[in-house]
């Protein structure tokens, strides 16, 4: 290619030498099977190279339901946090919320890949092409935060619960604790991330609760509004999650039926006391015909989330990025 080929006749001093490095050419270079156009794109299976065989004696269907529940929690919660980005009061909160959303998205990818590997679907198929009633996330994950106090309180509740659960799932990193070594490894990976999420949320709840009269009132209002979602987090899911744990009695680590409400309460009580906030007494959000988010029964908010989350993938189902 000559200089004349790439320049208009009147380019003059602005003529481009085609031999020079051109950043636009770099975008088109075939780095990796021609699949990449920008940093972080062209995703591959996050469990590539991991032994994903299902251990003997473990019910694959139950394991799938378990991974979908925990994966959907992370996916939907992450989406809600992403919606906050560019609306937060300070740059530091922007980076914090975006990073927490990224951590949860990473957890969602691994968990959905674990489930998808068993049922023969990719993480994208599970995220973008399931219907609302197939999503197993708790209703707390889909709640739209009405103000920053709700963001902090909801994240405190969610990350405290999820951290305690992931600690159980990963305890000792032995397959015995969950029955599935891959789930145990994913949980172990998430533990330290969730500890940072919980600390971030807890420090804001204390600061807001112990701040001005207005910040206190709004934080207490957030607690009162969100408390009814709590019961669902500890609700047993006997047809799936408990089965996965494969154990009963003391020390059972069944997600969702975890007996770790005490650990959760201990953390919440510490934070509420430090922030001068009252523990709400609101009754749990009712199940619909005995069914909750884990059974695919969601609040009105869920449809709007999925519309936003899935619209591009559904409009261009064969697109790659």
């Amino acid at each position: 290619m000559s200089t004349a080929d790439v320049n208009p006749p009147d380019a003059g001093p602005f003529a481009v030498n085609p031999d020079d490095d051109n950043p636009y050419d770099l975008l088109g270079e075939d780095h990796d099977a021609g699949h990449r156009w920008a940093f972080g794109t062209g995703f591959t299976d996050p469990l590539e190279g991991v032994d994903t065989s299902v251990p003997d004696g473990l019910d694959p269907g139950a394991l799938v339901r378990c991974c979908l529940a925990l994966g959907d929690d992370a996916l939907i919660y992450s989406h809600r946090l992403q919606q906050w980005v560019a609306r937060l009061p300070e740059l530091e909160e922007e980076t914090a919320v975006a990073n927490i959303a990224l951590d949860l998205l990473g957890q969602a990818r691994m968990l959905l890949s674990r489930a998808g590997g068993i049922v023969g679907q990719t993480e994208d198929q599970l995220a973008f092409f399931r219907e609302e009633k197939e999503f197993r996330n708790v209703r707390l994950a889909e709640h739209a935060d009405r103000d920053f106090a709700e963001l902090a309180v909801r994240l405190l509740m969610f990350s405290t619960w999820r951290l305690a659960l992931f600690e159980l799932l990963s305890s000792g990193s032995t397959p015995a604790s969950t029955g599935d070594p891959v789930l145990a490894a994913i949980a172990a990976k998430g533990v330290n991330e969730l500890a940072y999420h919980r600390d971030y949320a807890a420090s804001w709840v204390v600061r807001l609760g112990d701040g001005t009269a207005l910040s206190h009132a709004r934080t207490q209002a957030a607690l009162d509004a969100l408390w009814p979602f709590l019961g669902e987090l500890f609700r047993p899911d006997p047809d799936a999650l408990a089965t996965v744990a494969g154990s009963t009695g003391p020390g059972s680590t069944a997600p969702g039926s975890t007996g770790d409400r005490a650990a959760f309460d201990a953390v919440l009580d510490t934070v509420l006391a430090a922030g001068g906030l009252d523990r709400p007494t609101a009754a749990p959000l009712a199940a619909v015909g005995g069914r909750t988010g884990r059974d695919g029964v969601h609040t009105e908010a869920m449809g709007y989330i999925l519309a936003e989350l899935q619209s591009v993938a559904r409009a261009y189902p064969d697109a790659t990025w």
């Binding site: 972080g40 927490i100 600690e167 940072y196």
Partner: protein, 174 residues
Amino acid sequence: MVAPTARRTPAYDVAAGTPDPEIPTLTIEDLGILRCVDYSPARGVVVTITPTYSGCPAMREIAADVRARLNRAGFEHVTVATQLAPPWSTDWITQEGRRKLAAVGIAPPPEARASVAPRRAGPIPLTLGRPPPPRCPRCDSPDTRLTAQFSATACKSLHRCTACDEPFEGVKAL
């Protein structure tokens, strides 16, 4: 401190030299992301790496770079595998990695605990207090304050030195 592969083979050396996409002066060996490199004539080179954070977008970049570097060095069949357990922690960052971090103005994480991938006894305590502040990587002052627990990437926090007044990033203990 960490020797994922005791034997240094030609393939290991090529893979180990792969730069981190975010901080190119550090290699994936410095960061403890490289777990092992195996070679057999039948299977080719199998490079095992571990993610730092669950959502770290650099993993794919690293895998592509490892593959390209080994291809260029003459290894045709290269597989990059992921290993999740034991999970990465900042204790896997080597002394050389810590030195290089400080050299580019990023405070290394708190000194490694007793061993790699330490096990806690009991639940993670809630730390409403602040972790001990890192020393300023520019003027070495211990008087620094945390600006934000999260920074431009998942693995870093934001600080300011009260002595020289410069802001700086630090690698979060994980």
